[in-house]
């Protein structure tokens, strides 16, 4: 099984990835292979099974509403590729 070029395009955009023509071909094939392997999950009737999202069961893990230290702005911006005064700078939106 191989997934369609259109599907690869759609998924690549959702994931905000630019793919080369070669990458698109590879992923169409490789994703197809993994997904058809994953189809074995459909062999099982799991309608009565509860999904597991967490490996260990914990509930109500909460913190109190007590203010703590924020960062120095310089530190917050230290890793920013581009900044404008106290802000993170980004290109135009549209």
């Amino acid at each position: 099984m191989s997934i369609s070029a259109a599907e690869v395009e759609r998924v690549a955009f959702l994931a905000r990835l630019h793919l080369t023509a070669a990458e698109k071909e590879d992923y169409a094939r490789q994703l197809g292979a993994v997904l058809s392997y994953a189809d074995r999950l459909r062999e099982l009737d799991l309608s009565a099974v509860e999904p597991t999202a967490h490996a260990t069961p914990l509930f109500n893990v909460l913190r109190e509403d007590a203010p703590g230290e924020s960062m120095e702005r310089e530190l917050a911006l230290a890793n920013a590729p581009e900044r404008a005064d106290g802000f993170f700078a980004v290109p135009r939106i549209v």
Binding site: V61, D85, F88
Partner: protein
């Protein structure tokens, strides 16, 4: 309304209210408004690699309170999910929100419009984190040709999203719903609802259908409206726009539009952004919530009296529906009134002095009740002095002015200014005799049937007492003697 005679409006509203916690929903950064950009941030709310969220207990408590105040069922099991989409104000490029197990659902609230009373359904209320703020160099996002700047102070501020059923049929109903909703959240202490600070935002969706038709038309959504008037104007504009399209035999395109405040119109915001597929899945970094009946009950007990209950109580105390409405419309006013009520038995007079005299005075001075020097007990004392006849209503207004200026108690002022009223019949009777002796003609005029002569004579007595005589008593004595 032009569209109104052919079409029926169907409108639902998503309200995003900032919850009144001290810290953000998943980290200990302050939620305080107005700090310098990017100073209320930490590795967690900036989404730095390897950092993890920890849920703020108070955010859950407030969400439960809101659910109860809106007559919702509180979920016994609730969880967070990731809503995946890319936007530069979203530090992790996913928003931690709640998808299929919201903390509250199936509620309602009452509204009243000229069309009458009505119940508006609340589909659900869920917790989520706010995004940061984009500052555009241009007028709007669409005209911002140069770059934008991001401030993440607001990223991670806890929001409660309240989704209404599409039960609203007119801008008036929408407004009544939002007014009532905001008031309930304010009273419940869930949100301080500072609309001017953007602490409550609205997404409205609207469709039209020919009158009498059951099935719904295609809807459009207008996001991020931040005032009630913007919602009203947006709905009116969009309804007319859709009516225009439909009248011309056109089709409504299901889309997200933006309300352009400056141009007073909605604009299509079609772009690559439109291809949304949020890919919700359970947030693996947060454990689920189990909300016991005991937890819910403790929140119910902690709920203060809500607007409608308060209205009923005030009416029960003998206030007119109108006065009760005026008082509960403003939480501060309502709390002030209750405080004053503790030491003032006369509910009606107190309400009158609060809503007309004190409010008139504050409006004239452009002051707020919170900042006002007159505390509830002092206003109560003033009303009591008037009721006991110690001072006249006219004097009362003067005293009120002085109280507002100085913050002194009414008793002190009355004493210091010798503003006590003469209600001693013997003393007044002597003065009346004197006035009648000096004004025989007016006395005769009255006896001859000239009613207004009495007013003149009363005025003379008042003049002799520099206004301190009890006018009602003077009147009676005069009539007796004539």
């Amino acid at each position: 309304m032009a569209y109104g005679d052919r079409y029926e409006m169907v409108c639902g509203i998503e309200t995003h209210a900032e919850m009144a916690t001290k810290t953000k929903i998943f980290c200990a950064c302050s939620t305080e408004f107005g700090a310098a950009e990017n100073t209320h941030v930490c590795p967690v709310c900036l989404g730095l690699p390897g950092t993890l969220p920890v849920l703020n207990r108070e955010a859950v408590n407030l969400a439960i309170k809101a659910g109860l105040a809106l007559n919702c069922e509180i979920a016994s099991t609730s969880k967070f999910d990731r809503k995946n989409y890319y936007y530069p104000d979203l530090p992790k490029n996913y928003q931690t929100s709640q998808y299929d197990l919201p903390i509250a659902k199936n509620g309602w609230l009452e509204i009243t419009t000229d069309a009458g009373g009505k119940r508006v359904g609340i589909t659900r209320a869920h917790m989520e984190e706010d995004a940061g703020k984009l500052v555009h160099s241009g007028e709007t996002i669409t005209t911002s040709s140069a770059g934008s700047s991001v401030d993440y102070n607001r990223a991670g501020v806890p929001l409660l999203e309240i989704v209404s059923e599409p039960d609203l049929r007119s801008p008036e109903e929408a407004l009544a719903y939002l007014t009532s909703l905001v008031r309930i959240l304010d009273y419940a202490g869930v949100s301080d609802c500072k609309l001017e600070q953007g602490s409550v935002r609205f997404d409205v969706n609207l469709s039209l259908r020919p009158k009498g038709r059951a099935e719904l038309g295609t809807r459009t959504e207008m996001k991020n409206l931040n005032s009630l008037s913007a919602v009203r104007r947006c709905l009116e504009y969009e309804a007319e726009r859709q009516a225009g399209v439909l009248d011309g035999g056109g089709q409504i395109i299901q889309e997200t539009r933006t309300w352009d405040e400056g141009r007073e119109m909605t604009l299509s915001l079609r772009s690559k952004e439109e291809a949304h597929d949020y890919r919700y899945f359970p947030e693996p970094d947060l454990m689920p919530l189990r909300i016991s009946p005991a937890w819910v009950e403790s929140m119910r007990r902690a709920l203060p009296e809500l607007p409608e209950a308060r209205r009923e109580r005030l009416i029960g105390l003998g206030l007119s529906a109108y006065d009760a409405g005026v008082i509960i419309a403003d939480k501060d006013l309502a709390l002030y009134f209750d405080e004053a009520l503790k030491t003032c038995p006369d509910v009606k007079t107190l309400a009158n002095w609060l809503t007309s005299e004190l409010y008139g005075l504050l409006n004239a001075r452009g002051e707020s009740l919170a900042a006002c020097q007159i505390r509830p007990a002092a206003l109560a004392a003033l009303v009591n002095l008037i009721k006991q006849g110690a001072i006249s209503g006219k004097m009362g207004k003067t005293v009120l002015e002085m109280m507002a200026d100085t913050g002194r108690d009414p008793e002190d002022i009355v004493r210091a200014e010798k503003m006590t009223q003469i209600s001693d019949a013997a003393e007044l009777s002597a003065l009346v005799d004197e006035v009648l002796a000096n004004n025989p003609k007016s006395a005769d005029d009255y006896r001859g049937g000239k009613e207004q002569a009495l007013g003149f004579l009363v005025g003379q007595v008042m003049r002799l007492t520099r206004g301190q005589a009890n006018p009602a008593l003077v009147n009676r004595i005069l009539k007796e003697k004539l």
